[in-house]
Structures are given as C-alpha cells and as structure tokens.
C-alpha cells in the first residue's frame, strides 16, 4: 500500500500530541528530535534502542570530547563563503545573504570556528550524482560553502535561494527549502549538524524531518528571519539566523580568559 502524505500527516500529529502530553505530565522540554521518529522512515533502522550511556563532564577535565578540532585560515579560501562566485559564470536564482551568530548555551560567541553549508540549487537540485530529482543542474552552482566565525561569533554567506525538492519518504513528499549547516564549538560535545529554513514555507507542516522537532518553540528556532538590514542594495535579500550550540563545554578552561 502506498504511503500517502495524509498517512504521514496523521503520524506527525500523533507524535506531536504524544510529546505535548509528556510535557503536560511534567517531562522536560525536548530541544532536539528523538532519533526514533517513524514518520521519517529512514530513522527506523538507524537509531539505537539501548539508552545512551551518560558521561558527566564536570567530573573529568581530561576528556578528549571537551576539546575541539581547530580550523584556521589555511582551511578556507577567501571566496568559500560566496557560493555565487565559485564558477566562471553566474548561478541562476535569487541571490541571498545569510548571516548570524554562533553562540554557546551561555550566550557567548564561539569565535574562529568552522561553519560549513550545503544546499540545492534554485531548482531544488543537488549537485550530487545520487540525486534523482529531474530538475536542471546549474553548472555555475555547486551549493557548498565554508567560513570561520569572526571575533563576535558572526558567520556570513552569499548564496542562492534554494528550491524545495521531492524525496521518497512517501508519495508526494517535498522538503521545504533549506540550507544544511555543520558547525563546531569549543568542545567536540557541542558538535552540531542541522538545517536552516525560510519564513512561512507552506511545506513546514508536511515535512517529517522538520516536524521531528516536536517542540513548537524549538522548531521555530530553525527558521531564519528576513532582515532588511542584511539585504544588499541591487544585489540580495538578507536572512538572519543565530545558532546556539548545545552540549557541555569546559568552563574551567574558559575561566580567566
């Protein structure tokens, strides 16, 4: 039997209701998806069933995971954060500017760390061979960028508004337009890979990947804000998106800095 959008919508609603009930019964707010989220079918065989083993980082400053790999100017080139200038021609689509701050849970900027992005082109097609979507490739757009955060924790990208694209989770499944982000903190425990969305996308309610974040406020934090002050005259529209890293870090190392 073909799995329809209606089936998935019902599963999403049931997961959401179950979460609301847990919170109403006193369970903590869940900022992240559960790894076991059946409406996203690929998660079914790819999540552990055993509980994770907890490690209290405050008991051991020597943990390898409390430090982070370092990245620097050697690891990026000057135009790596401008996805519209990486080929001889100009990519097709609406140019956008995406900027924001990388912060830790205390609201402090994470400086000099690596931010990597990847995305579909304006037609909703990735420059990836396994990509099956029959939309045009753009020879002037690979859809990959990287940068280092500055002294105030800011990152900055110039790119093309990505298109939504179909995938095969169920019949007529479409991903809302998004940009994938990969970021590092000051500790490996803060590692984050996520996706940024654009305001008011009508596909939000139907997308099991976005809806895997069952907390309404947490899900909102994945949506960028249109920011006219970031729009560049005669060039691009601006979006602001701050990223807050979860996971403990080594506060005793930071003290006195």
């Amino acid at each position: 039997m073909t799995l329809t959008q209606h089936d998935i919508d019902q599963e999403i609603a049931a997961e959401h209701a179950a979460y609301e009930k847990r919170v109403a019964d006193g369970a903590p707010v869940e900022h992240h998806p559960r790894r076991d989220y059946a409406p996203y079918r690929s998660s079914v065989l790819r999540h552990p069933r055993q509980p994770l083993v907890a490690i209290d980082v405050s008991k051991d400053p020597e943990l390898v995971e409390l430090s982070s790999p370092a990245f620097g100017e050697r690891d990026i080139t000057e135009i790596d954060n401008d996805l519209t200038r990486q080929h001889s021609g100009v990519p097709v689509g609406e140019r956008i500017t995406v900027s924001g701050r990388l912060l830790d849970r205390d609201g402090r900027p994470v400086r000099g760390q690596l931010v990597e992005i990847w995305q579909a082109n304006s037609a909703g097609r990735y420059a990836h061979q396994r990509e099956q979507h029959d939309a045009p490739l753009d020879r002037n757009f690979t859809g990959v960028g990287r940068t280092l955060t500055d002294d105030r924790g800011f990152y900055h990208f110039t790119t093309i508004q990505p298109g939504p694209y179909p995938w095969r989770n169920h019949l007529n499944a479409w991903r809302p337009a998004h940009i994938h982000f990969s970021v590092f903190g000051s500790a490996f425990t803060q590692r984050l890979v996520t996706q940024m969305y654009f305001p008011n996308d009508p596909l939000f309610a139907h997308d099991p990947i976005l809806q895997s974040v069952t907390d309404d406020a947490a899900r909102q934090r994945l949506v960028a804000t249109y920011d006219h002050s970031l729009s560049v005259p005669e060039f691009s529209l601006g979006y602001h998106w701050d990223i807050v890293l979860d996971g403990p870090h080594a506060t005793w190392i930071e003290e006195g800095r």
């Binding site: 370092a70 609201g107 990959v144």
Partner: protein, 200 residues
C-alpha cells in the same frame, strides 16, 4: 525568533539537530580526511570497519568524524585538517608533518571506512581512546562513541568501560587483526549495538 537575545539566559536555547541527509558529499568529505597521521610516523595505527543498521545492512552514506590526542596524550590545537588550495579552490590535503588529530571519513559503497591516525595517549584516569561522532541519513541527531585499542592495561580502570557489562564493553574495544590493523564496527541498532554516549 532566530535572532537570539543574549541579555536573558532563558532566551538562549539550543538550535535543534537535524540529519546530515544524503547529499553532503560535495561539502563535508575532504581529501585525506582519513589520513590523519603524518606520513611515516612510527606510532601510526589503522582502524577500519563497517557501519551497520538494525538489519545488519552496511550504510553506504554514513560520515564519521574521529578526534583524538597524540601519543603523549596531548590534544592538538593546530588547524590544517582540510587545507585549501587558493588557486583552484580545491583541497590541498594535509601538510604531511603536522598532526591535527581530526579526521572525517565517508563510508564507501560497501559501508566500509578507515582512519590512519596516531596511537592516542592516555589522559587523566582514562584509558587511551579516539572519540568518534557518527552522522548518517536517517540519523536525526549524531551519535558519539569511542574507540579503545586492545591490550592496554589501563582499560581495566577506565571510568566508562568500568560501568559497562562485558558484552557492551566489547563494542568499544577494537580487535587487532593479523595485519596489525584494528577492526572497529559500528552497529547503530540491534544485536551487538554499539555503546553510544551522552555528555552532561
């Protein structure tokens, strides 16, 4: 709202995780990502294995990151894992002599991966280990685990290993092969499920 007001701590809430998806191939893997050890270093170890799903099928689209100290237990603070070529914009690879401690490896079509890095040294009360972060399509939040190497007396006193029963402990200790390489498989679910970690 996605402009975070840092003046009030209750507004500083974490950005949710999402799956890495299937299409990160142009973005995340880099040339030499699996060759972390400086060329010809005498303390080089090779660790390899497969990543399996709950039905024992290997994942052709998993991405592993490996992070570890040098043989003296010191954590590197140098960049240069993914040096770029300013002329072509492509990857230059590592510089061949510096140890950055960071590796990133995509599983191949068979679900196989390897890393060649330096034998990690011990830190504090812990037996030596490599930290591993696992990403994959279908995995909504990455998973942390550790690779311990067999034959080290410190394994007996390691605070993490000590709290696991024997079967589960075994999932974190690589197996030495006749070739001298170490085998470390990652099972995301089911029988022999790898121990995954949560840092608090």
């Amino acid at each position: 709202m996605t402009k975070i007001d840092t003046s009030s701590p209750e507004n500083v809430l974490p950005t949710p995780s999402h799956t890495v998806g299937p299409f990160y191939g142009h973005a995340l893997p880099f040339k030499g990502g699996e060759d972390v050890a400086p060329l010809g270093h005498p303390e080089t170890v090779t660790v390899h294995g497969y990543v399996y799903d709950g039905e024992g099928r290997p994942l052709p689209d998993a991405l592993l990151e490996v992070w570890g100290p040098d043989p003296d237990g010191n954590l590197p603070a140098v960049d240069g894992s993914m040096r770029r070529d300013p002329a072509s914009g492509g990857y230059l690879g590592r510089n061949g002599v510096e140890f950055t401690g960071f590796g990133r490896i995509q599983t191949d079509a068979d679900g196989h991966w390897y890393v060649r890095t330096l034998r990690p040294g011990a830190r504090g009360r812990n037996a030596p280990y490599l930290s591993v972060c696992v990403f994959a399509r279908g995995l909504l939040v990455h998973l942390f685990t550790r690779i311990y190497l067999p034959g080290d007396a410190a394994l007996a006193d390691d605070p993490l290993l000590a709290q696991l029963d024997e079967e589960r402990r075994g999932t974190l200790i690589a197996v030495r092969e006749d070739s001298g390489a170490y085998r470390f498989d990652i099972r995301l679910q089911g029988e022999g499920e790898t121990v995954f970690l949560e840092f608090q």
